[in-house]
Symmetry: C2
Subunit: 384 residues, 2 copies
């Protein structure tokens, strides 16, 4: 029985994680949950899974949750301190890190420092502070298990001991909803169009990142830290069907690939059950009913965010943090219709050029760079 805490239990990954846990009552037990302000859903989750501890974003939400759970023995906290308490709650063996964007960094670090294994869905944690986070994980002897379907695929293809014979990894990208749309029309892309992903049903932030292909850039940085790779060892290929989730090429030319239906419950289950596998109630992939599997080269000119991610990763220091913060601001502004789809990469480029590279000596350097970029661009756009 693994005891699990979930950071972000009402989000897309959190809900699917609870679905997986519910189907394996002998394998997992929920001990703590943290969510934002979706009190209705969280109250339901508390009644179904009976965690000892929950946390929400605000004091108001905490009071509202308390009102809905009058006779339930659960400790209700709120705010950043509540998140951190859920992350390091003593009973947990494993913490599912499934918050969105930069908010996950501090609680995930807290979980690592408390010796918890991490099932990582929140890739921004490694994008912002990969060196610090992986060093801390090594020091504490905790495993960071990937939940992203691409990284789960790589992790499975590497198996035990495959890393030393690796030539490169190949991340697959569906290409998003605008793979075949001419770049000239990107200025007129609406949030609704960008949120309509062809192969995956995901949260809003990651769906926009999948439309700009920044998601793949963030995945490059995530993969670099998860598997201790140089950037030259990370390739990207467009695979519109999203059946092959990624591939590993070995030094002898042999390639291993991982395939499955496009359902996040599969990589979640693997991260929870690792190093074992458990039976899944999901339908098998029927190869004979599949469309042909195709591959195309990535168009870096059409989707410049990926190049920026490689550039930030290569430069290191605070630049990946700047890239990530600028992207979060840009996605937010785009969803609020205050920034064009074509302006997302422009904002990121501007942020990187203005900020430049600064060394990361401590977590504070990361947090400061993050704050600086957010303030700078939030201010610029609030003036408009």
């Amino acid at each position: 029985m693994k005891r699990v805490s979930i950071l972000g239990s009402t989000g897309s990954i959190g809900v699917r994680t609870l679905d997986v846990i519910e189907r394996h009552p002998d394998g997992f037990q929920v001990v703590a949950l943290a969510a934002g302000t979706k009190v209705d859903l969280l109250a339901e989750q508390v009644l179904r899974f009976r965690p000892h501890l929950v946390s929400v974003a605000t004091e108001e939400a905490a009071k509202e949750l308390q009102r809905r759970l009058p006779r339930v023995p659960v400790n209700i906290l709120w705010g950043e301190e509540g998140l951190v308490q859920v992350a390091r709650t003593e009973e947990a063996d494993l913490v599912v890190s499934a918050l969105v964007g930069s908010t996950g960094l501090l609680p995930t670090l807290a979980a690592i420092r408390a010796g918890k294994d991490i099932a990582l869905a929140n890739k921004e944690v490694l994008v912002m502070a990969g060196e610090l986070v992986t060093a801390e994980a090594r020091k504490m002897g905790v495993k960071i298990l990937p939940v992203d379907s691409e990284h789960s695929a790589i992790f499975q293809c590497l198996g035990h001991g495959g890393r030393q014979y690796l030539k490169k990894i190949i991340l697959t990208a569906s290409g998003g909803p605008f793979r075949t749309r001419p770049k000239a029309s990107f200025a007129s892309v609406t949030p609704e169009e960008a949120l309509n992903h062809p192969t995956w049903n995901m949260g809003r932030k990651i769906t926009i990142d999948s439309a700009t292909l920044m998601n793949k850039g963030l995945e490059v940085i995530e993969a670099r830290w998860l598997f201790d790779l140089s950037l030259k060892e990370i390739d990207i290929i467009i695979h519109p069907q999203s059946i092959i989730h990624s591939l590993v090429e070995y030094m002898d030319g042999s390639i291993l690939a991982q395939l499955s239906v496009t359902d996040m419950r599969l990589p979640i289950l693997y991260a929870l059950s690792y190093p074992k596998r458990l039976e899944s109630p999901l339908p098998s992939l029927d190869l004979t009913t599949l469309a042909a599997l195709t591959f195309e080269p990535l168009d870096m000119e059409k989707f410049p965010c990926i190049g920026y991610a490689y550039e930030a990763a290569e430069a290191g220091g605070t630049l990946p943090t700047v890239l990530n913060a600028a992207n979060e601001v840009a996605v937010h502004l785009f969803l609020e219709r205050r920034l064009g789809f074509d302006e997302i990469p422009l904002l990121i480029r501007k942020a990187m050029d203005e900020h430049g590279r600064r060394p990361v000596r401590s977590l504070e350097d990361v947090l400061e760079a993050d704050r600086e970029v957010r303030q700078r661009f939030t201010m610029e756009y609030s003036k408009q």
Copy 2:
């Protein structure tokens, strides 16, 4: 440095094995070679690789080889006894079993009994006597490493410890040269047409087996013994591009696949280098230049040999030996234009029906069933 003996050094696999060894002079050393009657090629191989021991099929060939190598310090043997000596030569760590058909059984067993690891290309060894051979390998603690591209793929996808979480394996089949040819015209297939395989360049016997799809049937039986599977755990799928060499589906629904260029030197290198991997000079697979990867269900009515193989494997006893012997006779007769392509499955069916299932208590039971089928059908066709 691994010391290697090769049974079948002048055949398709043998020649490629020597090519691999020549490219890795620090990794491997050839200590013994056995071939049939291609004395020219064998003499060249002896001069290039300097084995201590060689064996050929006949006394005449041995004398001819001796004449060509007057001052070379090599011990030259011949016949079945020579094969067995090569198989168990003291200096070898690993024996590449690459003879064609049933002739490989006795020397491969001799190698196992002498404690040599086996790189197995000669699948008929396991088809004829899988239970005996794998029991002997377990007893002696020797590894049987697959050289067949499909089984190498499965072996790589299973990694260390994957077997316990396996749901099924999926062997891919190119479908051979007659995948889209109507069955009604099978009677007019010529040996030249059948020898023209669309994706692989292989020996004659296996190329005909690939045209009847019996090769896939033999692979089912081979896989059963190599990976200790039930027949229900072995699926076959048509994949005309031969890029994915086979797949493993795990109990959670995740599938691992192995891909590479179609070059037998890759699985040979992996079998030789296992558990390590070595750099290969072969070109990488460039996914973006590939045709679309497609899959089709297998047509068991059009290619009945596969059904016969499942049936023989399910029945056990001597029936797989009978299937194999009848197939070898039928392929031989077809290549001599004394049997129609459409009559190959008929001959096999007849042999299985006539012979029935008999228990295998010893190797002698296997050899007797093999002899009986060969005599019976060789006699029948010599009368014509």
